[in-house]
Subunit: 141 residues, 4 copies
């Protein structure tokens, strides 16, 4: 454990609001922000950590969300572009907490932030398993 | 083929608009009407035909949409209830056309109608297969 | 403030999973649970509190989510029915916290629970406003 | 009418599948393809035609879909990128038909194609209105 850094890297992905994300208040529907985080995270797992969701599935593993927390600051609207910044906050025995921030472009004003807790799951048993050392290594950057 | 009826039964399912279906024009988003048809169809397959999507999957089969056509007449709005009426219009060698109508309740004014073409797929090969006689029997009511 | 009860009423609404809620893991997509809460809440505002979202809009007011927190326990799947239980946990100067629980039917096993914080917004200025006494009265049951 | 070209320009927009677009069959959910078309169209209206949905709204006008038709050829999957090609096929008195094709990148194999019919709507009356000459001009490229 002593080799793990105390602070982990954050990665950024730019996304754009889709018209079907807009709700009756003319803003991005509140539940879609986590979908942006998820989309950014999938891209970053492959591009930045070198181990994609598909790679996990091929080892019989999946990440299941156990908790989500979102603070909504300023809503995004039609046609807005954003940057989604994600990084691991800490590991637990069988998972990790991913913190995120979504900033509206181009001014990078905070739209929302929060975190998601994940458990690593054996897809055959649907039960949480300890994070293997090699995976923890790949994600401890 | 001569035992098949020329006209097949239609079945009705009542559904309610969810707030997340509403779009920036304060109406149900245009792509959600087919989701209502799909929801009604899943219910009717189990309740009215006695062979659910899960039963198809257990035989290694799935229904894939090959064409959809929707005529939009009157939009549904927040809190609206509807009846979704579906029925097989005709069979093809490896599929069928399902016609649908969505009427707004309680006045039953037409909101939209159209059809979906489906192909029966072998889930292992992802290829269309002829509709087995017993399935065609179950669905020829 | 002294007339307000310490514990507020909880209300229940039954809903059913739609096929388009299912994600690549064959379960309800994690962000849809809050959509179920929102759907239940809209129904309960009209049916149980006697003041619907539409009534708020007619007074130039809207509820904006400022924080959401969800603990995911057991995923829902295709065709599942659920009961969504919601109630106000406490009021703040310009809003309230709504706690929720989603239980799978018919056994009522917990699927997820959590809370949403809302701010009452003047729809013209998009700014938070104090909760008017008559509204606080209607919702303090 | 004689100044209008017989064949109108087609424009391309690249998009990427989001994880929340994937359904229980591990493919993009059938109703999401039209959402990709809509997203591409909104971008193209602003970027290529020089008159965005917002510009229409400021003139009290909106485009309502009256018919959609989609032929599904090859499903898109998790992480796929696509190009969405759209163009006006013809004008009607109060609207137009937009044809589209979605090709999977990088091989540009056809995923689906089809068309959407739109009516131009006066947002105050919710009724179809003739397409004004200047708008028809801007879009006749």
């Amino acid at each position: 454990m002593s080799e793990s850094p105390d602070v982990f890297a954050k990665f950024e992905t730019e996304l754009e609001v889709r018209p079907d994300d807009i709700d009756l208040y003319q803003h991005v529907h509140s539940t879609r922000y986590l979908d942006y985080v998820l989309a950014a995270r999938f891209i970053q797992m492959e591009r930045d950590y070198g181990m994609s969701m598909r790679d996990f599935a091929e080892r019989g593993l999946g990440w299941f969300m156990t908790q989500s927390n979102v603070h909504y600051k300023r809503p995004l609207g039609l046609g807005d572009r954003m940057v989604v910044r994600c990084g691991i906050e800490h590991f637990t025995a069988s998972g990790c907490r991913v913190a995120f921030e979504i900033d509206r472009l181009p001014q990078r004003k905070r739209s929302c932030d929060g975190f998601c807790d994940y458990a690593l799951i054996d897809l055959k048993t649907n039960r949480a398993v300890p994070v293997p050392a090699d995976i923890r290594g790949k994600y401890s950057i």
